[in-house]
């Protein structure tokens, strides 16, 4: 159980970064950390104690595999996370060129 709780704590650290930090790059990092913690969460769910990598081969001893489905989901989630981060970075650097700062307190509409 402790593993899940630590994973959720990582999620909350990311959330803290997004909500409290005032720097665009830190906000992006916070979102990415949240994303990572959820990827880990999904992988944790699918783990079966004593299970092996879900790849078939001739010299396979056991037939206990870890659940391959969450792994497929995480694969998708990783790419989604990359896509979000890339787009956010593009917008952030564009904002930087306009204002010459990453501080959201100096960027008019992003306050609060």
């Amino acid at each position: 159980m402790i593993v899940y709780l630590l994973c959720m704590l990582l999620f909350l650290i990311g959330l803290y970064g997004v909500l409290v930090k005032r720097n665009l790059i830190k906000i992006i990092i916070g979102l990415a950390i949240m994303e990572y913690s959820l990827n880990l969460f999904l992988a944790l769910i699918g783990y079966v104690r004593g299970g092996t990598v879900p790849i078939l081969s001739q010299d396979l001893k056991t037939s206990v595999f870890v659940d391959p489905l969450p792994q497929a989901l995480v694969l998708t989630a990783i790419v989604i996370g990359l896509a979000t981060t890339a787009l956010l970075l593009a917008v952030a650097i564009r904002i930087y060129k306009k204002y010459h700062t990453f501080d959201i307190r100096e960027i008019k509409r992003l306050k609060g």
């Binding site: 159980m1 593993v3 709780l5 959720m8 990092i29 659940d67 694969l75």
Partner: protein, 182 residues
């Protein structure tokens, strides 16, 4: 195994906290890298080499991109006006509350490592005969749930189109209307 996992998780958390609190953006990004590479180790421990490979490469590339962005702009963290203990206290209380609820809610579910499969049992039993793929994850990604993967590839495509949109030189044509349109 669980012990190593917990140790890696604590390292990741430390990295995450340092990434968020660092005064220098470059070191923030580097310690964000710790989180990503810690995740790779977790995936390896959880018997997910497919994920580990993808994660390690994606992490490297996104670090390069982030560093490129920071070198293109500034590495100075903005000065925080005051250290707010109120914010920290509220965050801590909320975190404890959330973890308590989470623990209560998931207490009755299967423990770590005792996962039971329902949808996935059909994939594991004789999946190779159904898809012909020895790697079950690839079999799921491209065959059982290939439709998801189409969506996933489309998301990457969308993001690339979005990046090209946002980073193009000029948004509006420089015709007479430009002044008024802003």
């Amino acid at each position: 195994m669980e012990g190593i996992l917990i140790a890696v998780l604590i390292l990741m958390m430390a990295g995450a906290l340092y990434a968020l609190e660092a005064k220098d953006l470059l070191s923030a990004v580097v310690s964000y890298g710790i989180v990503g590479f810690g995740l790779v180790i977790c995936f390896l421990l959880l018997q997910a080499p497919d994920l580990a490979i993808v994660q390690i490469i994606i992490e490297t590339i996104s670090l390069i991109i982030m560093i490129a962005v920071i070198l293109n702009s500034t590495r100075e963290e903005i000065a925080s006006r005051q250290r707010s203990f109120v914010v920290a206290a509220i965050s801590l209380i909320f975190a404890l509350f959330f973890l308590y609820i989470f623990n209560q809610a998931t207490g009755a579910l299967s423990r770590f490592g005792e996962h039971t499969m329902r949808m996935a049992s059909a994939y594991v039993q004789g999946a190779a005969a159904k898809t012909g793929s020895a790697n079950l994850v690839t079999g799921i990604v491209f065959d059982f749930r290939g439709y998801d993967t189409l969506g996933e590839a489309t998301i990457l495509f969308t993001a690339v189109m979005g990046v090209l949109t946002v980073l193009r030189l000029r948004g509006r044509k420089a015709a007479g209307k430009k002044e008024g349109a802003e």
